[in-house]
Symmetry: C2
Subunit: 359 residues, 2 copies
């Protein structure tokens, strides 16, 4: 393949299996992410339609449904009772972490596919229950790792598979943001251990570096050391306002990673190999740019070079495609569970100030 | 101060104390670094002159002295005997690590100032001896951390002191290079534990991230966890073809750092604070560019913006300035010794797979 070929001929949806059809989604949890990102992403999709909105408040569910021309706006209780169950094929769960399992259980009972936001749940145990529940009901479960359908990430993965890096040597990931500036409420759920789970910076931010690295390198974590601390009073109930870990992945690949919920916003994921380097910067949050370097030569694929493909649209269409074609999803329950175990290990390593080995 | 002021009015040599004079250097060790970098840097300097070259071979010393119009070319033995001692005021030691102490001892005996390449020596114990020997002889000792006289680094330090970062949160450093491509000899001293000391990637590369971070933040290391491994047969005798560490610095600042002697060349040092970010990229090796970011605004100071100030020239002039003005050097023996203890702790942490606390 020539460079010209490579630069001009990208199969935007190399994952696509189905030739048509529509998957009707019920969106569970109507926070800003659902209304401002998920709803427009589905509206722009090829295989998806939003038919049901689920919220704690009947008023809010009804109002948002009307605003977005969605057929049903129902409450969580109504959802659990099976109201409007014939109107959707799959659910998208975007509630606080500790509620994911409850909504997945109901979806499984109703025979609906489950697309669940990451991290899967508040704890490993509850994530395991989610996998079991979906397995027993034989409904597809996908964890919403939207980086995996980001075209820049998929191109990076192509390059890894093609041997671009030589042997991967070291990985660096960072995901930091000023959470209290974005969401000034000090009592938000991401800072409440009953709702978020183990903590906040690893669960909410570090997981991007973890999962994208696993996806790119197809290597799992072997050991982890970690440090975390909280400083601002809003973070009194969680251990990891800031967190850093050092992991060894299969094949002796070393990974260092930082995450912070109270820092200058910055995202970077960099994989250095014996023969080249692949870097995503910005790395996450919908504006991924890929820099591929070898010797003194670098190629940059900016987000714009992919005609602004919206990664959430890609994600919803990917899951719909899997349901329509009956092909297994890649980031399934077992895949998401591995991340939950890594997150838990990172917290345990910080608590114990010692190495934790992943089984 | 306005941005205009800041961008246009940089005091290039804010460290300068002396108003004139010349320090005559003997350069000990005639590897490519000395001939290709140190000699031209001194030739371009304001306060320095090379008057003596010292090598293992009389033929080489004489030949290189003649080529560069240097008064004396002498052997190591002659140097130890005090030959041409009246012709120089200070020595620059650029031999393999394990020989630094011997040359420093002779310089101290002869009452000469010592500018010693980093890392100071092969082991903490020998570095301690160097400090003692120079103290007892009352000769100035400086460790050659040329990053500390790089204008981009000094501007970054100004910004840190000015509160640009808010509270520093996390630091990332990387320094990787394909050593066997640059120097194809598999038996080179950097891979020989008798000459390099504890290892190769931390001693030779990681030390840039360590020392520059200490210089920028004025914070010392508290704990360190580390991983290292060797893979290529040329690295059979050293433990750290690749190395990574996770450190906690004073004030709970977390630092992650990678270094590799067999990887794509890349240098980056990034300090993320609660309110801003300072990044050097390229970070080391004479082409330092500073990126200062706050919110959505970034200012880039490229190496070119400093009129290509040669950091080695700055370093030689800095030490000469200290000798001429009798003002203490900042990166003195105690400062370099702290790095040696950190490097040793990183190796011990990797060996023991446990946390090492710096005293």
């Amino acid at each position: 393949m020539t460079l010209t070929d490579w630069m001009t001929n990208y199969a935007a949806r190399d994952w696509q299996q189905s030739s048509g059809g529509t998957v009707r989604y019920a969106l569970v949890g109507l926070g800003w992410w659902t209304t401002d990102v998920a709803l427009p992403a589905i509206a722009a999709s090829e295989f998806c339609e939003t038919t049901v909105l689920v919220s704690s408040s009947a008023e809010k569910a009804g109002r948002v449904a009307e605003e977005h021309d969605v057929d049903y706006g129902i409450t969580y209780d109504e959802y659990h009772e099976g109201v409007a169950a014939d109107a959707y094929d799959a659910v998208y769960i975007a509630t606080p972490n500790a509620f994911h399992l409850d909504y997945a259980e109901t979806a499984a009972k109703l025979g609906k596919g489950v697309l669940c936001e990451k991290p899967m749940e508040a704890t490993v145990e509850r994530a395991e229950q989610m996998v079991d529940v979906c397995d027993e009901a034989d409904v597809p479960l996908m964890v919403a790792y939207r980086m995996q359908t980001d075209p820049a990430v998929r191109r990076a993965r192509e390059l890894v598979e093609d041997g671009f890096l030589g042997d991967p040597v070291q990985v660096y990931g960072n995901n930091s943001q000023p959470l209290l500036e974005t969401i000034p409420n000090h009592d938000q759920w991401r800072l409440d251990p009953d709702l978020t789970g183990y903590g906040t910076s690893v669960m909410d931010l570090g997981i991007y570096s973890i999962n994208t690295t696993r996806f790119l390198l197809r290597r799992d974590f072997v050991t982890v050391e970690s440090r975390m601390s909280s400083h601002h009073e809003a973070f009194d109930s969680v251990p990891d306002e800031r967190s850093s870990f050092l992991a060894v992945l299969e094949g002796d690949v070393q990974m260092v990673c930082t995450a912070s919920q109270r820092a200058h916003a910055d995202t970077q994921l960099k994989i250095t190999g014996t023969e080249g380097q692949l870097e995503l910067r910005p790395a996450f949050h919908g504006e991924c740019t890929l820099l591929a370097s070898k010797g003194d030569v670098s190629v940059e694929l900016s987000h714009e070079s992919f005609e602004a493909v919206e990664e959430m649209t890609e994600e919803f269409d990917y899951f719909a495609d899997r349901l329509l074609s009956d092909v297994p999803v890649y980031p399934d329950g077992a895949h998401g569970l591995a991340d939950m175990r890594i997150v838990e290990a990172i917290h345990r390593a910080a608590d114990s100030e010692s190495t934790v080995t992943l089984d």
